[in-house]
């Protein structure tokens, strides 16, 4: 559990790095991936540079929690200790909480794991094509790229780089900064025109990265035709699935539809939980912000997705369960 970038490549999630441009992705694997994927061995890991367009999805995994009642970001997990960063806006408060100022405006501290509560691992999508964040639309225009002047006027002193590379600089030839200080590199052009955006630091609108594959499930088994009112009665649901407590009553139809689908797909009922957090299960709970779907493991909420719409949350949960079942071979195409 730590703050990092992740990317899904050919259906498999990997830790990822980005740079020097937004289109340059490097995938990292701790264990050797299948040879045909073309990962290259590196010290302690395998790596594969890819273009952003080749990546199915990319997201920031942001473990967040509360330290002494105030929000924090978990930068790293050191076992018995967590390396956390203050996410508030009040330096005095940060210092009162016990944070260290690592550098101006940056407050961090190592704390015992048990002192950080309510940890959830938020997934902040980084969609592609890349769109411009809405708050940036009113921002100041960027100045001309520095390298043009630097390289053109390198000798006149007026437009020299802030600190010219010294004669003994050992920067490698492919160095990004070396590029900037010598041959001009074009600014990465906008990849797309601005479009509806996923605000960073906020869980995005519901997405459906996992959809029950029709070929596996068959329209006859899961399609709307099988979900007529007659099939939605409690008698058709079998034993109530775990977590279906609370008797909220306000959302019986969605829940029943979900239960019906789960029953039709023969998905294990201990693989999910509704309205409660069950270790090892994919959980759906209502919060102040909406409906969260996440994987509960090690006392932490992983891959949290937030939905404003309850129905979307249920169907996302179903999609996760169905996808898992397809992968496991428990969901097969109907025969005959």
């Amino acid at each position: 559990m730590r703050y990092r970038l992740m990317a899904t490549y050919r259906g498999v999630p990997y830790e990822a790095g980005v740079g020097p441009t937004d289109s340059d992705i490097v995938l990292f694997a701790a264990c050797p991936p299948p040879e045909d994927l073309g990962f290259q061995p590196a010290t302690g890991h395998w790596r594969k540079p890819v273009n952003r367009a080749e990546v199915d999805a990319m997201w920031e995994s942001r473990p967040q929690g509360l330290y002494r009642g105030e929000p924090c970001l978990v930068l790293d997990d050191l076992g018995e200790q967590l390396h956390i960063s203050y996410t508030g806006n009040d330096p005095s408060q940060a210092e009162q909480l016990g944070y260290c100022q690592m550098e101006p405006g940056v407050y961090e501290v190592l704390v015992p794991r048990e002192e950080v509560t309510g940890i959830t691992e938020e997934r902040v999508e980084r969609p592609y094509p890349i769109s411009t964040a809405p708050w940036l639309s009113t921002s100041t225009p960027a100045p001309p790229p520095p390298w043009a002047d630097w390289t053109a006027d390198g000798g006149n002193g007026t437009a020299a780089p802030p600190i010219p590379a010294g004669p003994t600089s050992a920067a490698p030839a492919d160095s990004a900064t070396a590029d900037a200080l010598a041959p001009p590199a074009p600014v990465t052009p906008p990849l797309v025109t601005p479009s509806p955006v996923t605000p960073a630091l906020v869980i995005p609108a519901p997405v459906t990265p996992v959809t029950p594959p029709p070929a596996s499930l068959g329209p006859a088994s899961l399609g709307p035709a099988s979900l007529g009112p007659a099939s939605l009665g409690p008698a058709s649901l079998g034993p109530p699935p775990r977590g279906r407590h609370g008797g909220t009553g306000a959302r019986p139809r969605t829940r029943e539809t979900f239960s019906e689908l789960v029953g039709l797909a023969s998905l294990p009922q201990d693989s999910y939980a509704v309205d409660e957090v069950v270790e090892g299960a994919i959980c759906l709970v209502r919060t102040d912000r909406g409906f969260e779907v996440f994987i509960a493991a090690d006392g932490t909420r992983h891959e949290v997705r937030l939905f404003a719409d309850e129905e979307a949350a249920y169907f996302y949960l179903f999609g996760l369960l169905a996808a898992e079942a397809v992968r496991d071979g428990r969901l097969m195409p109907a025969r005959g």
Binding site: V18, H45, L75, E103, P104, P145, T158
Partner: protein, 184 residues
């Protein structure tokens, strides 16, 4: 190339634990003294992707970076172009100020350079430009932005700046910092 950070060790607690931070070391703020530096939740600032960015890092963070214990960039940064446009005096003075506030006594300082990414969030500090905390030097503009924590971009480079020269230290490959092989 010599690769560093292959065997990450626990984060230097002397760096991170308030109980172990000697007064006046690390952030230049004596124990119990509020620094007053805002944490940066100001208005967003548009930085064109691909822009060369730079930030000074305190001496005490150099080793955590190079050994893989620290994998995020956060704090005050600036466009390299802004620094250049502000005139030749600004970088040295700004850096000098930052260095003086961020490091132990030393004429050297360390910088990270990277190209900005769309995913990075830059904010204007929530204090006016004439706030003493933002003024880099008398009569010179306040150019800093605050970058929210983000993973160190692939290709980020670290330099050591001395009065005499600029020394390339390492380049981040996404997992570790690669250093040039020592000269024979």
């Amino acid at each position: 190339m010599t690769q560093l950070g292959q065997q990450p060790r626990p984060v230097a607690q002397a760096v991170l634990s308030p109980a172990r931070v000697p007064a006046g070391e690390g952030d230049g703020v004596a124990a119990g003294e509020s620094s007053g530096w805002p944490t940066g939740r100001g208005a967003p600032v548009r930085v064109e992707p691909g822009t060369l960015m730079e930030k000074i890092i305190p001496h005490n963070l150099v080793e955590p970076y190079l050994t893989g214990q620290r994998s995020v960039i956060s704090g005050y940064a600036y466009r390299a172009a802004d620094a250049a446009q502000a005139g030749p005096a600004w970088p040295a003075q700004a850096r000098g100020r930052r260095a003086a506030e961020s490091t132990v006594d030393s004429p050297d300082f360390w910088v990270l350079r990277w190209r900005s990414l769309e995913m990075q969030i830059y904010l204007a500090p929530p204090v006016p430009p004439d706030h003493p905390r933002r003024q880099t030097a008398p009569g010179l503009p306040a150019l800093d932005m605050f970058i929210e924590p983000c993973p160190v971009p692939v290709g980020t480079e670290m330099y050591r700046i001395t009065p005499a020269r600029e020394e390339f230290i390492a380049r981040h490959d996404g997992q570790a910092w690669l250093r040039p092989a020592p000269e024979a």
